[in-house]
Symmetry: C2
Subunit: 405 residues, 2 copies
């Protein structure tokens, strides 16, 4: 049920052929899948967002940053197939029009609508298609359409990505739902990641904005991304208050529990991105402890999860722990080599500055599992973090995977 | 003739089965190729070196940094097949012994020998094999063996990489030669790069050390590497004075011309690494001008050359300039989007903030050439730089290359 699991959120979708029209088609190809969705909340939401750090931002990102300033968002309009990036002044007009078209249909002001786009860069949005799609999506809004919305935002994704949970909070049942798109590639520097989390928790205005960056740092930013960032990357959190709990204020115990639950959903979504890596067959989870700081731990975990040579070793079932140690080494995180402790699939492979004389067959079996856990203790302080990646296959692997054997 | 092209340098090689013995073999497999070389100079050299920035450094790197302090190097001993990294105290003893074995054979002190290793991480060097190899290599030193030495240091390289040139300088013919190994992979974070440049120029002591970092920054560090660094990366420049020119001092006009020639050789070697990318079919050269600084230009050029999505677009002959603009955008370099000017294969594809209505078939033809030049003017100041990469093939490409078409 995804983003429509929390009360008061509905979704509608449409197949309007945006990718085909972008490429110059004159009619929607038959069998075209949904490429546009609208999410609507029955109440105005407290909303927080983080966006790409790319100096070249898509029109939708710029418009969203503007609309978020008034913090009265009540709907989202999202298309796949065209990124509306590097499209100059026309691109901004189109993004604004997209918000206005949805607002008109939903009886809102344009600045109550956020827009996202993902797909080809440098082509104008086919606005006739977008207009028809928004009309259709707004006409079929339903609280059952969360999964359909998750499908409509896919580009190279092979599966829709959703998560949801319910918790008791401040005297009410509070629901959280989410969806995202993106695939954890080798080096997904421009694979746009879009992620949306909805909740019916009632919160003091500004709480979502105060939490969103820290949640992104512990989830989406830890999917082997190297800090690279597409023109369109967007993560939004919307809280509409429909659960009827006493409004949660920043710094309260309830806010901390809500944050935990939001992080949990964000992590599930982030892991699903890593798992859907292009050509991937295995999920790699990297846990780092004993770091000088949480930031250092994040950096170190990300470096291991992003290392092409770790990925190929995992793919090849090659017990090459040296590549993990070296990724930790170049990550930039402080580490004490003589106290470094490394486990793969629960087996200690490195301690006191050198490899352990471990049963290589057992390490190989660990590397062969569909989910591999790598745990590194850096030997310094209490900083810890997690990151996720996938294995790497094909020719690159043929060259690297058997390197030690 | 490579590193033996300058007068006074000789090389010797040996096939001693280091990789096989590292994996536990009891005899050298038949058909084993050379995996060890020794380079010897008839005179003591002025030597400069730059090494990996990885916090985990191989034993050879640590030993070399120590030996370079006295600046009286006269020989190199290099092995492939085993990196001697993450090998603890035993690794340091082995690296020192490697230097001593060569020194004994060549009548030098151990600190006159630098050692390099490349290959598998976390295994002890098979010192019996290394000892036999050093004896054999020292016994067959020849000024014809530069190419053989370039072959002996290869790991996943498909071709040996060498370069040489001669110039008139300070009243003499001065020769420069070089060799390197490494392949410009997707994300070669632990693909050790070893590079050696020899010259018979006479120089004041310390000149090589004063030039080596700036030369690396304009060559090897610009091969789509993202600043990642293996445990063993090494670049050494040795000048032995055999050309008999008046010694060149730092800051002189002659030093500037010598630097130009050294950069030229280093660039040729760096390009050969990019061209030998695993699975690569095309060389990508990225030239950036109009940057706020040379450093910004280097950063921007490297980001484009390292972008997996640019690489796949080039491989697929897909005229997707949007990916280039976006790589510039996330590189961290300052740019003026409204003055950004972008050419691919000589065709203007982007200016004044948006795409040019260019003949896509012509851009596609440019992308289909074996060497593709991408030129970006960032619209700010006089900073400029160059970087090199290769295209990216296989499954990753099947998903990405046809994205806009």
């Amino acid at each position: 049920m995804a983003v429509t699991y929390p009360h008061g959120f509905r979704a509608g979708t449409a197949a309007c052929g945006i990718k085909a029209f972008t490429a110059g088609a004159s009619a929607i190809p038959s069998g075209q899948r949904d490429d546009l969705c609208v999410i609507h909340s029955s109440r105005q939401c407290d909303t927080g967002g983080v966006f790409t750090t790319n100096k070249v931002k898509s029109a939708s990102v710029v418009i969203d940053q503007l609309h978020l300033q008034r913090n009265r968002v009540q709907a989202l309009a999202i298309n796949s197939g065209n990124a509306n990036a590097c499209t100059g002044a026309q691109g901004f007009r189109d993004a604004l029009l997209m918000a206005k078209l949805a607002a008109d249909r939903l009886d809102l002001d344009p600045d109550q609508v956020l827009v996202s786009s993902t797909g080809v860069i440098g082509r104008y949005l086919p606005m006739d298609a977008v207009k028809a799609g928004i009309a259709e999506a707004c006409a079929n809004l339903s609280d059952e359409a969360g999964e359909a919305a998750a499908k409509a935002i896919m580009t190279t994704d092979t599966v829709p990505k959703t998560a949801s949970l319910e918790l008791d909070l401040a005297g009410a049942k509070v629901r959280i739902g989410g969806m995202c798109k993106g695939s954890g590639m080798i080096h997904p520097n421009m694979a746009t990641m879009l992620a949306y989390i909805t909740t019916d928790a009632a919160v003091e205005p500004g709480l979502m904005a105060s939490l969103v960056r820290s949640i992104a740092d512990r989830s989406f930013n830890q999917v082997s991304v190297d800090g690279d960032s597409s023109t369109n990357d967007t993560f939004l959190m919307l809280a509409n208050g429909a659960a009827g709990n006493a409004p949660i204020s920043a710094g309260s115990v309830e806010a901390a529990f809500l944050e935990d639950a939001l992080v949990e959903i964000a992590r599930q979504l982030a892991r699903s991105i890593a798992r859907d890596g292009e050509g991937a067959t295995k999920l790699i989870t990297v846990k780092v402890g004993g770091a000088a700081s949480d930031g250092d731990a994040r950096t170190a975990a990300r470096a291991v999860a992003a290392s092409s040579l770790v990925k190929t070793a995992v793919h090849g079932g090659d017990p090459n722990w040296g590549r993990i140690v070296c990724a930790l080494g170049y990550s930039g995180a402080e580490l004490a080599l003589d106290r470094l402790h490394l486990k793969v699939g629960g087996l200690v492979v490195f301690e006191r500055g050198t490899g352990v004389d471990v049963d290589l067959a057992a390490v190989r079996r660990a590397f062969e599992q569909p989910e591999i856990e790598i745990v590194a203790e850096l030997g310094l302080d209490g900083g810890r973090a997690e990151a996720w990646g996938c294995d790497l296959s094909e020719e690159y692997v043929r060259i690297n995977a058997d390197y030690t054997t």
